[in-house]
């Protein structure tokens, strides 16, 4: 009796998990079609697509961090009160009164910091591998996916910004002050934009509620939509760019796969998704379990790093928001310090006319950087062999331009982080700051 129940449970377990561990090629193909979570995989993936050295799984890690952020964020939403009277106290309670509240908040914060970094490195990886251009896949449009990716990076930054001002501490208050004043420096609509963001002229309840809704609903929903499109686009573009490249090198025609496309019917070309995979039998592996196994491992590693950091790096909570007293120095989180350094350095005079650094460093220069990123794939005239290849020799000038820009950004970031003291004066890292009276 007991044995038969045990066997029945074993059978049930096998039935519900067979898609993870298929026993034949046929079951592996079936698994992808039948399982909701696996349906976005191709049934077979090229060895080079899933190689660690191709993508370093940076996009996957970004997605996992986003998942961790959603889950921990939902937990925090039960504990946080978006009101100027109670926000600070509720975060303080999360930190000191709620069981494991400090871990929950720490995980949310560390995952957010890591997400900014990993999404950026993911973008750098795509740039250095030239994976933002289509090579041979039919109907490929990697350029568009790169553009979506740039907007996903911006949304990630805006999510971080709206997140760290929710505790309504000094960091939060002065971040909103500076952030919305940068918006105000925009030509023509600046003043109206600030009014709409704050829901008034001063930083108060309306502003907190607006940033709260942006942070918890609007921006995550937007990111999720873009994420879906980003993933769908990769499949339509024939998977990883490294596989596109193989077909270029081997001079083979794209082959038809077992996936079907309605777009093909509409255009009258083919009903099958064409990929550049040359020999499925030889070079491809079943997505389940080979890709799946790696994805699970990457998830475990990501979660472990986030949790370890959350436990060992305490999340700070500054003193409550005080409009009369700006901390000295008042610094943004690390990923915005290059921007803070820029707005501090870019005011200049032309004749008798002063051009505000808030406009130049806060809007014009970052705007130019983003615009450059958006059009870059269309400016890239390197041959198709460069698509999906790390540091291809025909792209070395582009790679150097990109690397130098990143290094400049890092230099500004490092100066802002380690070499700016009270009143934003310059100090070498080994110099001590002079004592400054806390009150005016």
């Amino acid at each position: 009796m007991a044995r038969s129940i045990a066997e029945r449970f074993k059978a049930m377990w096998r039935q519900s998990t067979w898609t993870w561990q298929p026993r034949s090629e046929r079951e592996a193909g079936d698994a992808v079609v039948r399982n909701l979570l696996l349906h976005w995989f191709p049934s077979k993936v090229h060895r080079m697509s899933i190689a660690w050295s191709t993508s370093m799984y940076l996009g996957v890690i970004s997605a996992y961090l986003f998942l961790i952020l959603i889950l921990t964020g939902l937990g925090l939403m039960f504990l946080y009160v978006p009101s100027v009277e109670r926000a600070y106290a509720s975060v303080k309670d999360i930190e000191f009164a709620v069981s494991f509240g400090t871990v929950l908040r720490g995980q949310h914060r560390m995952a957010a910091h890591l997400m900014v970094a990993v999404v950026f490195v993911h973008m750098a990886r795509v740039f250095f591998t030239g994976a933002y251009r289509s090579a041979t896949a039919a109907n490929g449009n990697r350029e568009l996916n790169w553009i979506v990716g740039v907007f996903m990076l911006l949304t990630t930054l805006f999510l971080s910004f709206t997140g760290y001002l929710l505790p309504w501490d000094q960091l939060a208050y002065w971040a909103i002050t500076v952030g919305t004043n940068i918006a105000r420096a925009a030509p023509l609509l600046g003043e109206q934009m600030r009014y709409l963001l704050l829901g008034g002229n001063t930083i108060d309840q309306n502003a907190l509620l607006r940033f709260y809704v942006l942070h918890c609903i609007f921006l995550p929903a937007a990111l999720l939509l873009m994420f879906s499109y980003h993933m769908w686009r990769i499949r339509k573009d024939g998977g990883m760019a490294v596989v596109d490249r193989l077909a270029v090198l081997e001079q083979a025609a794209p082959v038809k796969t077992k996936s079907y496309t309605l777009m093909g019917i509409a255009k009258g070309t083919t009903v099958q998704v064409e990929t550049s995979v040359v020999d499925e039998e030889k070079d491809c592996l079943s997505s389940s379990p080979h890709l799946l196994r790696r994805l699970v491992a990457v998830f475990a590693a990501t979660l472990a790093v986030v949790t370890a950091l959350a436990i060992f790096v305490p999340a700070p909570l500054e003193t409550p928001a005080d409009p009369g007293l700006t901390p000295n120095p008042a610094k943004a989180p690390w990923y915005f310090l290059w921007l803070q350094e820029l707005v501090a350095d870019t005011t200049f005079k032309v004749g008798g006319f002063t051009v505000d650094g808030a406009l130049v460093g806060g809007i014009v220069l970052p705007g130019l950087l983003v615009a450059l990123l958006l059009v870059w794939p269309y400016l890239d005239r390197s041959p198709k062999e460069a698509v999906g290849c790390w540091f291809h020799s025909t792209r070395s000038v582009q790679n150097i331009v990109f690397a130098v820009s990143v290094i400049l950004l890092l230099v500004f970031l490092i100066i802002g982080t380690f070499m700016r003291g009270p009143y934003w004066n310059f100090y070498w890292p080994w110099e001590s700051w002079p004592g400054i009276p806390a009150k005016i």
């Binding site: 002065w174 002050t177 500076v178 004043n181 940068i182 420096a185 009014y195 709409l196 829901g199 008034g200 002229n201 001063t202 108060d204 309306n206 409009p323 009369g324 007293l325 700006t326 901390p327 000295n328 120095p329 008042a330 803070q340 707005v343 501090a344 350095d345 870019t346 005011t347 002063t354 051009v355 505000d356 650094g357 808030a358 460093g361 806060g362 009270p422 009143y423 934003w424 004066n425 005016i440």
Partner: protein, 171 residues
Amino acid sequence: MGTGGTETVSRRGFLGKAAVAAVAGGILAQGMYYLRALVPNVLYERPLRSKVGPPDQFADGTTFVEEQQVFVVKEGRSFYAMSAVCTHLGCTVKAVTLNQPKFIDEAGKRVEIRSEFHCPCHGSRFYGDGRNYAGPAPRPLDRFKITRSPDDGQLIVDQGERVGADYRLTV
């Protein structure tokens, strides 16, 4: 449609286009209502005009009024009010008394500077009278109109009304 003058618009075509336009217009207009509802018509903010205290309460020199984020400067019997909000990106500047007075040349005149304002966010610097001289601030600290209340004689600072640098209230 009608470029040569002889082509006619069919009734079906016209009604079809009109229907699409009506639906699109309806959705667009509702989108505008939606956005407009997020622009507040009524604000419950601190009034811009407020009492800061009786004149004899202020010592000679610069006094920071924290609640309004303004400096009230007293020179003998005359007063002026100056914003403590940095003209660059809105942080509250701090008054700094120099250990040794410094001298600057201004239109051939030697002017003594004893106090300054420094901004903690991006390092803007202002002289004691609010003129910007270093850092990213694009213009001097704002001056606000200062008056005396007719009922109890307290000073009133009106942050809604900017005045020139030579505006003074003499009591």
